[in-house]
Symmetry: C2
Subunit: 426 residues, 2 copies
């Protein structure tokens, strides 16, 4: 039996050549059909496979899952809670049913009509109920850029940065799914020459290009997840836009970290790509020097070669790609992040989201935020319509995309997009 | 009809003279009886009133609540979601049924046996499912002490401190109910003279004396809660111990704030005292100078005169009160905290917990953490058994208590306690 990842697999479903969702991907998400309640689905080409219908039609009967109701929930948490092995069996089963030489579903047109929906006819939802959300700061290029701009170019990285994956707790309630627009945040900020802080809509609204992993197995308070076991606790990954109001953030963040400069909205892509599907894209991470403490030591290929890009789409105009980066640049890998997060006994819960922090690359066009791309507004970006941007304008849409490509196969994340609406009056 | 707060009310239930839970309090919580599942209860003297039984016996029928199942849930969230008016009606109804001149429940011994349980025979649970948890930093005395020790006595408060209630996101998953013991956290820390960070059990484990409020009404992303309406969104308050590992925190916290130094455990008291029950204890807050921005301006009495104390109980020995403080000292009140938190459109959810930050008073015995009480370990505390403490030892239990007292009536929170177990081996 070929694995669900095998590059030679072909499917009877029509999949466009450059689709993010070939039969080797099969990411999980939650969608609402035109009629009916939210349920679990899998992306294949331009279609969404309805797992509630698949279960009800008996296609998963041979798997002996504990519970088929997990496909009819508004979040994937209960499905994920079946365990990694059960989720892998479901993905493998779907892979088999979609293969070009498998007639079972292929030749049953009534079933096909029920289970395969055009992606334009469904509404994607937040895929998981998120308990806690943590944002790391794991790109050395990003931390160096920020340290250079705001502190001291000669000592851009703070003393702790190479010893631990710095992170902070973010806001779960304001994480929204791709396509959810939000209002420019109001808040306090203080210009350097002002005696007192002012109040109003943020003038320095930014994006941050990130990826995030979703927890697949919970722990009890007091448990530690070692680096070598961390991947067993991770279900999969998404794209993540950590919208940031730089002026609010700069004024509020000492000494306890970012707060209102971040928690007005964060956007995630709707499809969770499983770690299994990302296996082909493993690469070694950067050399870590000085050597990290034993509980953080990591061997093997724990980074992922995932191309990332960010576009800005003005209200009337066309998209312009303003950043091309790659997840492989991250200094701290996801196993190290999770090992660090739990070394003190902090418990994790299925559905938790752990974001990477802005993923900047070494070159100036690989910087993952406008703060860095425009170097604090000193080098405005030129958009497709000839207009300039130091930071985001009202009605700008930001679109992030990501994919791995190897041996002619492409495994993608789709996109995460969001539009800036004008600030509300306070 | 007398209000549930009326100081003249008497109950037929035996209530000890100095109880935190007279008939004027009636706080809500979740408990597990010896046999049966977790459910809602109300504290009265040394008893717990079983609201699931009360509902099933028809005592709430006249209230026409949407749903009686809310009393049979493992969290209060669904009860709280009935709305402030419904919760007030339930509290008022319970108050009436418990009054000395009301025979209905008083004379029905079979019902009394079913609904009134000794508090020693139940297990208190976390009262709410917590979505997000935020910790503020709202005591000027605490912020000044910390700034003096770690930065600059002449500029102890950072420039933003008097302009906004500084806060940060904490970890929801590791919030535990009183009585839950936890292991001393392992982590990285670096002594000033060491070249590299070390790893091991925290050597500077501390408590932080705080109070927290629980959200009673959710908002949508983009909504702002003004100061004048904030109390409508608050269900009630609890005691909160924000356990802190000072050595881990000091090394990790730049630039993104506290993380593993906090998220190994935070403890809350099991009974949520409603804002209604705290009405008699309203007092004006400190004068805020310089004047705050309009969205933070607050009039009337929005602080609460609640006596707070902290005891340390060594493994073999007796309790020693090491701190006596008061919630009235807080510079930023809860309405300002919530108005600030939502001014950027951040949404709140029923069950969210918002803690005050350490509540220190002006005198040295009113400091709300060992960091301050021992002035960074330079002035050890003397315990009842003659032993000294710079920070907490293994097997130490910390107990916090709080109550308001006025016109001979005492409205209390009970206690929040937790014991430090030895670190686990990594």
């Amino acid at each position: 039996m070929l694995s669900a990842n095998d590059p030679s697999l072909k499917t009877w479903v029509e999949v466009p050549a450059d689709s993010d969702f070939p039969v080797q991907n099969l990411p999980f998400g939650i969608f609402k059909p035109k009629i009916g309640t939210a349920r679990a689905g899998v992306a294949i080409g331009n279609y969404v496979l309805d797992l509630q219908e698949m279960a009800q039609l008996g296609y998963f009967d041979t798997l002996h899952l504990k519970d088929h109701a997990v496909f009819s929930q508004p979040y994937l948490n209960d499905f994920i809670a079946l365990g990694k092995s059960a989720c892998q069996q479901v993905r493998q089963r779907i892979s088999e049913l979609l293969r070009h030489d498998n007639a079972k579903l292929q030749d049953n047109y009534e079933h096909r009509r029920k289970v395969l929906l055009y992606d334009t006819e469904v509404h994607m939802q937040l895929p998981v109920k998120i308990g806690d959300y943590t944002d790391f700061y794991s790109s050395m290029e990003h931390a160096t850029n920020v340290g250079t701009m705001f502190r001291d170019p000669a000592n851009a990285l703070l003393p702790n940065w190479k010893h631990l994956p710095v992170g902070y707790h973010g806001r779960s309630s304001s994480i929204v799914v791709s396509g959810t627009n939000f209002h420019r945040p109001n808040g306090q900020y203080k210009t350097p020459d002002a005696a007192l802080p002012g109040f109003g809509p943020s003038q320095q609204l930014d994006f941050e290009l990130e990826m995030a992993f979703v927890i697949g197995q919970s722990t009890e308070l007091g448990e530690h997840i070692p680096v070598t076991k961390a991947e067993e606790y991770i279900f999969g990954m998404v794209l993540f836009n950590d919208w940031s109001a730089r002026d609010i953030q700069a004024w509020e963040y000492v000494p306890l970290g970012p707060f209102l400069g971040k928690n007005f909205a964060s956007s995630i892509s709707p499809w969770i790509v499983t770690l299994d599907a990302l296996e082909p894209f493993r690469v070694p991470g950067p050399v870590q020097e000085p050597q990290v403490l034993p509980y953080l030591q990591s061997s093997g290929q724990r980074n992922y070669d995932i191309h990332l890009e960010v576009s800005i789409l003005p209200d009337k105009g066309s998209e312009k790609v303003v950043c091309r980066s790659n997840a492989k640049y991250l200094y701290w890998n996801i196993a190290q992040q999770l090992a660090h997060h739990t070394v003190n006994g902090c418990n994790v819960t299925i559905g938790d989201v752990y974001a990477s922090g802005t993923i900047s690359g070494p070159k100036a066009d690989a910087y993952g935020s406008m703060l860095e791309l425009t170097w604090r507004g000193t080098k405005p970006l030129l958009l497709a319509d000839g207009s300039e941007r130091k930071f985001l304008h009202d009605h700008d849409t930001v679109i992030m995309r990501g994919f791995g490509k190897k041996d002619g196969n492409r495994i993608g994340f789709g996109e995460v997009r969001g539009k800036v609406l004008p600030a509300k009056e306070i």
